[in-house]
């Protein structure tokens, strides 16, 4: 167990170094001179040199990288190119609560709807319930969220025009607040955001449940005279959920890439929105910071799901 942890932690450090290096080198190699762009028409050499120095851009690349990493370790993400003197940290601080809120709800909806849907499909396998829910899952899995979002918006507009239904088409309302209007605004983005992960979990849960229901120990549980409810929900589910926990890390990937689309389609000013806006304005420090942030989140999420896995599956502790 300890050995496993150490191995994972070493892997984690390696991945984080890789992530920071890739983000740094892409930014470093990027064409164009950001300082020059920053100054625009007010270009003068003295100020150019001063700014270049203050951003540390006059150093050789490896020194820049080390400075970059050390600043990262101190939590210093540098300054935005776009808004002079605005720390990147402050920009992320603006978006992070919203993205966390969206992500948390997205994950919850994925699990709360996806897993039971998969179980239901497995228990009713071969019936129309199975066909319907798995058809839905395949559809949601294949349709990109930006299409779902657009279709959702078309539907809202149509409802508004034909029946006078008033439902917000975009926006997020107040972060971490749940007045009726906030809830109304948030439901759409959350469901569309969660759709792909929901489909993924539903399919995985179905497969895994069917697999488990075929196991000998389920027959043993029935032979012991346990009630069907207990056979399914205690004996089968404890086992069927193990593979679901192992892919929680994967679903984190869905959440991160989904955020770019959901936040942009619905104009939600979270990290995904900030990233895309920074790309439009070539604000490299912000792009780098969000990339490192999101990649770190995914790595930590994977580690967490591995740890959770060892808790749920007793077989892991020994090996």
């Amino acid at each position: 167990m300890a050995q496993f942890l150490i191995k994972r932690l070493i892997g984690l450090v390696f991945v984080l170094v890789g992530v920071t290096f890739i983000t740094f080198i892409i930014g470093y190699a990027a064409p164009g001179d950001p300082i020059q762009e920053m100054l625009g028409n007010h270009f003068n050499l003295a100020q150019y040199m001063r700014l270049k120095h203050s951003y540390g851009l006059d150093l050789p690349w490896y020194q820049q990288y080390f400075n970059y990493v050390f600043r990262l370790l101190r939590g210093d993400l540098g300054y935005s190119f776009q808004t002079v003197n605005r720390p990147v940290f402050a920009i992320l601080q603006d978006g992070l609560p919203t993205s966390l809120e969206l992500g948390l709800w997205g994950l919850l909806v994925q699990l709360i709807i996806g897993v039971p849907l998969g179980i239901l499909a497995a228990l009713k396998s071969g019936t129309w319930i199975d066909t319907l829910s798995m058809g839905l899952a395949i559809f949601l899995f294949a349709v990109p969220s930006f299409i779902l979002a657009s279709l959702f918006q078309v539907a809202i507009v149509y409802l508004h025009l034909s029946f006078g239904v008033d439902w917000p088409v975009s926006g997020w309302g107040n972060t971490w607040q749940y007045s009726p209007t906030d809830i109304q605004t948030k439901i759409g983005p959350i469901i569309i955001y969660a759709a792909i992960g929901l489909a993924y979990f539903a399919r995985l849960t179905r497969t895994s449940t069917l697999e488990i229901l075929r196991q000998d120990y389920i027959r043993t549980a029935r032979a012991k005279g346990l009630k069907e409810r207990i056979v399914i929900y205690r004996h089968a589910m404890r086992n069927a959920l193990i593979p679901i926990i192992t892919v929680l890390g994967v679903s984190l990937g869905f959440l991160v890439s989904g955020a770019f689309f959901t936040e942009n389609v619905f104009n939600i000013s979270g990290i995904g929105y900030i990233t895309i806006q920074s790309i439009y304005t070539r604000d490299y420090p912000v792009i780098q910071a969000t990339a490192v942030l999101l990649a770190t989140a995914v790595v930590l999420g994977n580690l967490a799901s591995d740890l959770l896995y060892t808790v749920v599956d007793p077989r892991i502790k020994v090996s």
Partner: protein
């Protein structure tokens, strides 16, 4: 503990994601488990079930032919295959035919008289004919600046297909080379692959592509844009994206190949070949690579679905194909500017994308079921 070395599966936010090791069963033998006295089929029944073998013994087939036969019987996959073939034909030949259909048209805003070879091109604007529904002149209507939707759609499909082909060529060749070497020799190349794959999993889905497309996009416009044909017409970033998509997909392919190579390596006949003095190169090319066919085919088909969605997503975000170029993602993005008034313009590219992606997923699933011995149970 290794959660990565499993069957490939694609998803709508792009790229292959590792799934659980549970294999999706095609035929449920013990159905309706919720029933009161359900239990797995007793061994005897299963044996008795398999007892009546084909009444007329046919010529024996190789496992490959057997798999191919199973695949051909998969209706969903076969229909999808036909759909994809149709789309390929339409994307390649469609524009040439469409350029010759329709009469001359006198522009209202200009004074020119133009033929279908002009107004049926994907980048021709007819500003006073914006937002039209399908008509004999514009078969699928026009978009917000009076461009022919059908022409743009065909160009978009072509982009998707070309991109998929380019990415898969890189994906397969790099994936097989590195995967086989890592699986056969192990050592540093195996370590390298493992670390690279770890790194890749930290950049989920589109993050890496967004990062690269975002930062290098401008540079791509300037330099790759100068490349004739492939870089021209707003497609410069497409080149960049296909490089990045290929780069992000091959480590996964290599992992599957590595796993398969490890399995094949343990087979007796490899051992026999080695003891009889066959050199490594012959073993690799004669015995190992041909046996990778099925896993490579399954993984790449499923990866194509991810690639196409990935490109659409990037173009949708405005980081991919740029106007006047056409891409399905770009069309969806254009249409969503005015989606409330003209949902038709959104529906056409969306539906096309969904059909393409679903078809590739179904073909991939069908191939997996047919070629993966695990899915037989």
């Amino acid at each position: 503990m290794d959660t990565h070395d499993h069957k490939p599966e694609t998803n709508a936010s792009g790229f292959i994601a590792p799934t659980s090791n549970a294999v999706e069963p095609e035929f449920e033998l013990s159905t309706v488990p919720g029933h009161e006295n359900a239990a797995p089929i007793p061994e005897e029944a299963a044996i008795a079930d398999s007892a009546p073998i084909d009444p007329k013994p046919k010529k024996s087939r190789t496992p490959f032919q057997e798999s191919l036969r199973r695949f051909r019987r998969d209706k969903r996959a076969m229909i999808s295959l036909i759909v994809i073939l149709c789309i390929v034909v339409i994307a390649i030949l469609g524009p040439f035919i469409y350029h010759h259909i329709g009469g001359l048209y006198k522009q209202q805003l200009g004074t020119h008289i133009i033929g279908p070879d002009v107004y049926h091109t994907y980048d021709h604007q007819e500003l006073d004919r914006a937002h039209e529904m399908p008509s004999p002149q514009y078969w699928l209507g026009t978009d917000g600046i009076g461009r022919d939707i059908l022409a743009r759609l065909m160009q978009g499909m072509l982009i998707s297909i070309v991109l998929a082909v380019v990415v898969e060529i890189v994906d397969i060749s790099l994936g097989i080379t590195v995967g086989v070497l890592a699986g056969y020799y192990g050592g540093w190349i195996d370590q390298f692959l493992a670390r690279l794959a770890d790194l890749l999993f930290a950049f989920p889905g589109l993050l890496f592509i967004i990062l690269v497309a975002g930062i290098l996009g401008g540079w791509a416009d300037d330099t790759l844009g100068a490349v004739p044909v492939i870089g021209a017409g707003g497609n410069a970033r497409l080149l960049l994206i296909s490089i990045v998509l290929a780069f992000t997909s091959w480590p996964l392919m290599a992992r599957y190949v590595r796993g398969q190579t490890l399995q094949i390596k343990e087979q007796q006949y490899i051992e026999a070949a080695r003891t009889s003095g066959t050199n490594d190169l012959t073993i690799l090319t004669r015995h190992i690579v041909p046996n990778l066919f099925s896993i490579v085919m399954v993984a790449s088909t499923l990866n194509i679905a991810g690639t196409i969605i990935g490109e659409a997503g990037i173009s949708y975000l405005g980081l991919g194909v740029r106007p006047p170029g056409a891409s399905i993602g770009l069309m969806i993005s254009d249409a969503s500017q005015s989606l409330s008034a003209y949902p038709w313009e959104l529906l056409v590219p969306s539906l096309t994308l969904v059909i393409i992606v679903l078809s590739f997923s179904f073909i991939g699933d069908g191939l997996r079921d047919a070629f993966d011995p695990h899915s037989k149970d």
